[in-house]
């Protein structure tokens, strides 16, 4: 399995929900080897502003069409300019990078928990989980939990209809589905329906992933989380994308894992949560100053 630098052709780049865009790229070599949970480093535009590539997970992979998709939220200058790029242009892509979601290693129901734009990598995962034998080697009982801040940010229901699985929805403001966070919803459904996931997959904001991790750790449930970090290279070279990790031999010593090569998929227990720092939140109004 190699890594490639390809000039991908933009087949589509369109808004699919509030501040949320879907980019469809023709990019044969990367599409051929991509696995769910992995990511690419995308150069937003020519020139030195922005300088660094931006990491985005595979949202959907169609190796047979030499195509993959990413789903992105406009949060800053890079993603803003990306949203302005038109169909027919090319963008430089490096990938596939990082590890992938591992298939569930024990039988039983699977919970997939996505918060906000965290739904991006979970969508391909759901496809592979739902496809008999592709990823897991059998039909899996999948429960999908999907929360956003408000209904307008939510992907339309039709996005998930082909998956044919129960979608539990929440919004922080109650404009769609359960009113509360997706973790509240997850806890509530489990309590009510009295089942326990054998494996959890999750992606979302850091506080959300923390909550999922705490739930999983306290019950000994394996949880695979897709984590983020600021990245420069995506290749394990710059050592910029460090996250604090427990060192079993020396619990108080500093030790770091690197999101781009040890991740982005981490077991809940392989992160030292008490040393994690969420990124500063810049208000969207000032995003394009």
């Amino acid at each position: 399995m190699g890594k490639y630098q390809e000039e991908a052709l933009i087949l589509a780049n369109e808004g699919v929900a509030d501040t949320t865009w879907r980019l469809v790229l023709e990019c044969p070599r990367i599409a051929a080897e991509a696995r769910p949970g992995q990511f690419v480093m995308l150069q937003i535009r020519e020139g030195t502003d922005p300088l660094l590539r931006r990491p985005f997970s595979f949202h959907r992979i169609h190796p047979e069409r030499a195509v993959f998709e990413i789903l992105y939220r406009v949060v800053g200058r890079g993603t803003w300019w990306l949203s302005q790029t038109r169909q027919g242009s090319r963008v430089s892509v490096v990938g596939p990078l990082g590890n992938a979601f591992r298939p569930p290693d024990r039988p039983g129901p699977v919970a997939v928990v996505g918060g906000g734009i965290g739904v991006a990598p979970l969508y391909e995962l759901l496809h592979q989980l739902a496809k008999p034998s592709a990823f897991f080697g059998g039909a899996v009982d999948i429960h999908f939990f999907y929360g956003t801040r408000t209904a307008a940010e939510m992907l339309p229901e039709s996005t998930f209809s082909e998956l044919n699985l129960p979608v539990h929805r929440s919004t922080d403001d109650g404009t769609a589905g359960f009113c509360g966070t997706v973790v509240d919803l997850f806890r509530r459904v489990l309590e009510k329906d009295r089942w326990r996931p054998a494996v959890i997959y999750a992606c979302g904001s850091l506080p959300m992933q923390f909550a999922v991790a705490q739930w999983a750790l306290s019950r000994g449930t394996p949880a695979q989380l897709s984590l983020e970090s600021l990245m420069a290279c995506g290749l394990g070279a710059c050592l910029g994308c460090a996250l604090p990790a427990p060192d079993p031999k020396a619990p108080n010593a500093d030790r770091y894992v690197h999101v781009c090569k040890d991740g982005p998929i981490f077991e809940a227990g392989s992160i030292r949560w008490n040393k994690m720092q969420p990124p500063p939140v810049t208000p969207p109004t000032f995003v394009c100053v």
Binding site: L52, V94, A232, L235, G236, C238, A253, P280
Partner: protein
């Protein structure tokens, strides 16, 4: 980019001599931006590089700084990695053999908190096959001890180089910081102390903060600025250094294209290192190498040595003679 240019490449002589060190071409990678080489093997034919300078190595493994460690800035980035590295033992055991098997000259960038640590590193690396040179990092702005403290003071820098010089027969490169009043003064001091080669620049000391959360953008607060933003500063430092020492100089700082690389050679650098550009385009070094050949051919030169240091700093006025008639 014409494909045939690269193919016909062998017509151009890219060899450069840097004192005791001869390289097949002047394109190296900068320490800390290329891992231990293996990380880029999918994108770069490592054997085609002038040399690989590996991530800075210390005696003991280092965990590095807590995150966030990097932040983007206009046409640049600040890093405060804190010299995370595997330590010399693991480097020799695991990383070096892989690189040696690639048959590319390896330059080991070393760093200590004390002069003795530098000396010990240098003597341990002395006899080892496949190491082409040592690069003394006395200029890293992201660590509390050692590093820049040595590089900011000509006397201390000279003293350190003198000690290390005695500990190794390997060609010795000393890497300078731009964060000084006179880089020429430091360059002269390390030359007098016996360094074979000087490389410059390391990153420029810099800070980024978040106006909304009111917190620094790097856990380490201060970090080192690199990338195209610093190219004009690096070029000035290299020029000043070339003017002040006789030993060969390696140019580093913001090089992202063949034209950038040529600019450093023009002011007298005898080789260059590509750093941050590797992050932006993993294939950058290969593109630069091919571009250099293309530019030389365009200029009608068959040897890169005929280009190095040929900056023409005189002002000329092509209309002067004719215009004087009026």
């Amino acid at each position: 980019m014409e494909q045939d240019a690269a193919a016909a490449g062998h017509a151009t002589d890219l060899r450069v001599r840097l004192g005791p060190l001869t390289l097949a071409n002047p394109v190296m990678v900068a320490s800390g931006t290329f891992g231990y080489g293996e990380e880029y093997a999918d994108f770069v034919d490592l054997t085609r590089l002038g040399a690989v300078v590996v991530k800075g190595i210390s005696l003991e493994p280092r965990a590095g700084n807590p995150p966030p460690r990097i932040v983007e800035t206009p046409s640049g980035m600040i890093n405060a990695i804190g010299l995370e590295n595997v330590g010399i033992d693991k480097f020799l055991e695991e990383k070096l053999p892989a690189l040696q098997s690639r048959r590319v000259p390896v330059i080991v960038n070393i760093l200590g908190n004390t002069a003795d640590q530098y000396v010990e590193l240098a003597s341990r690396l002395d006899g080892i096959a496949g190491i082409a040179a040592l690069e003394l990092n006395i200029s890293c702005p992201n660590v509390k001890e050692g590093g820049m403290a040595f590089g900011a003071d000509p006397a201390m820098a000279g003293h350190l180089v003198e000690k290390v010089r005695r500990a190794t027969r390997l060609p010795l490169i000393t890497k300078l910081t731009p964060n000084v009043t006179s880089i020429a003064a430091v360059a002269k001091a390390v030359e007098a102390a016996g360094t074979d080669i000087v490389s410059c620049i390391n990153t420029v000391s810099a800070l980024a903060v978040d106006a909304f959360s009111r917190r620094p953008k790097l856990a380490n607060l201060v970090g080192g600025l690199s990338g195209p933003a610093i190219k004009p500063i690096a070029l000035r430092c290299v020029y000043e250094t070339v003017q002040s020492v006789r030993c060969p100089v390696i140019g580093i700082g913001g090089i992202a294209s063949a034209v950038d690389a040529m600019e450093f050679l023009l002011v007298g650098a005898r080789a260059i290192q590509v750093g941050t550009a590797n992050f932006v385009r993993p294939t950058a070094t290969m593109e630069i190498l091919e571009g250099i050949e293309r530019v030389l051919r365009f200029l009608g030169l068959s040897r890169i040595e005929d280009y190095i240091g040929t900056l023409d700093a005189e002002c000329r006025f092509p209309f002067a003679e004719e215009a004087c008639r009026f």
